[in-house]
Symmetry: C2
Subunit: 305 residues, 2 copies
């Protein structure tokens, strides 16, 4: 079984490695960039795949997403038309988990300033201090794939790790990761890292009430979307200057919100590059092609609708 024709939208040749295109070319005789009536497979990344686009492709059977997020696709409409949609979950787990510790260590060890003064020839190290991760309380909100890897790495550093998640994770608890209420985690942790999906339950989970209880000196890392944080409440607490908030999804925020938070020295903003490891890129492409092969075999995996 092969696809008749693949339509590529939302990305270009460079988003997939050459050897991956070779594998894809074995699954079809036609890869095109313009819609046509015989397109039965659609590639998409972050672009909108709405009712209109779907309806314009009468032969469409399969949508392959080169991404984890599915919010760009009208999943219900695809389902009604019996079109299978597959995404790529979990490919960047390790890349993001290690990134979190980069963000934390950069902050607590002042790596940027250290490198700058060394470049100027100042090797005294005067005025530097740091805090250790060893024996600190490390709270994880959302213990999915990434949260679990963050927990494991934090344990390597000798931190005491607690978590809250929608569901209890007994296996993790056997490994010494303690379940606690969100309120407790926010109030008592030295480091807090957010890794839950944004749902009705987690939207605005860091609200004024909770943010006010954060320990002075604590570091909060949010590599999820900022929907889980009430921005005006965060700004109010940042003003006190007694804790640090690190985020890496300014691209998904309202520009005026980014601007407001940028004013605060204790709010550190990174671009959204947690997922960029070479290993994640290879894995992502591999899952992308495997999804196609499995669909063609009639046993689709990573189906999201």
């Amino acid at each position: 079984m092969k696809f008749k024709k693949i339509l590529v939208t939302g990305f270009d040749k460079s988003n997939l490695d050459e050897n991956v295109w070779k594998r894809i070319n074995k699954l079809t005789n036609h890869v095109v960039l313009q819609p046509s009536n015989d397109v039965d497979c659609l590639f998409s990344r972050f672009n909108k795949v709405d009712k209109e686009l779907i309806n314009s492709l009468p032969s469409l059977k399969y949508i392959g997403l080169l991404a984890t997020g599915t919010g760009t696709v009208d999943l219900d409409h695809a389902k009604r038309k019996k079109i299978v949609v597959c995404n790529i979950p979990g490919y960047a787990t390790e890349s993001v988990a290690e990134w979190v510790f980069g963000l934390i260590l950069d902050h607590i060890r002042e790596l940027k300033r250290a490198k700058q003064i060394a470049r100027k020839g100042d090797f005294t190290g005067n005025g530097f201090s740091a805090t250790e991760i060893l024996n600190k309380k490390f709270g994880i909100i959302g213990l999915g794939r990434i949260g679990q890897r963050v927990a494991k790495i934090a344990q390597g550093f000798g931190a005491h790790v607690s978590y809250w998640s929608r569901n209890r994770k007994k296996n993790a608890e056997k490994e010494g990761i303690k379940y606690e209420s969100i309120d407790n985690i926010v109030k008592t942790s030295d480091f807090i890292s957010l890794h839950g999906l944004t749902t009705k339950e987690t939207e605005g989970i860091l609200d004024a009430k909770r943010l006010n209880t954060v320990k002075p000196g604590a570091v909060i890392v949010n590599v999820c979307g900022m929907e889980q944080v009430v921005i005006p409440a965060l700004e109010k607490r940042l003003k006190k200057g007694d804790f640090t908030f690190i985020l890496d999804h300014p691209d998904e925020m309202k520009p005026e919100d980014v601007k407001r938070l940028s004013k605060y020295k204790n709010c550190i903003i990174y671009p959204p590059i947690g997922f960029v490891s070479q290993e994640a890129r290879v894995l992502k492409q591999d899952i992308f092609v495997s999804n196609m092969i499995n669909y063609l075999k009639g046993i689709p995996i990573n189906k999201v609708n």
Copy 2:
């Protein structure tokens, strides 16, 4: 038992916290900054305590070093005069071990550049790539206290950890840390971290022959002195531009050597601030005072001569 008079050299009041001075004041009635005949206790940090200084203090019984290194003190001469010298080993183990991962992550995740472009409002993340620590080979040369903590943290990241050390460490091997020859470690590791003491055996341990075998893409971190590295050989290999060397003791190098290495983008230089954590500072001072108390009790610990 108390000291008659303590002479402080090589540091000032600010190097010890107030509560520590309080504890010290219980151990003597006189803390002075000028030598005199009845000084029986000498405080020193990185300053020279040579034959001349020792001979100028006829009542001297005890030298308390606020440091780990003892190279500044004429230990033999002190021994001949039955003066006990105590140092502070291991206080910064965790601080240095965590620092090593800060240096590695800053490099492999380009944290500095990421923060800079985000500050300019570029949130695309274009052009960033990274490598993961997971499943990489992490070689440790010198498996003392710090090396063992680095090994443990690397295991948390999911690296395969090997070590070479003067003596086999069976306990570490039981924890999955594999013993290998230096040659093998240098040749096959993705990350190499140096943690051995500089002895005749380890001086120049990274010589031209070994440096030439380092894997392209490898990252070497040296938070020990640079005596273990043959600088001209390092420079030659740096020129090839295919690996990265990170060091943090430029203060102990010849200025012309620092200058030579600074030219290379793939040689990253930090000031010597691995030890600066607050926790290390508290522990250091605590050991410093404990050393004095134990000496006065007649059961000296951390005696180095």
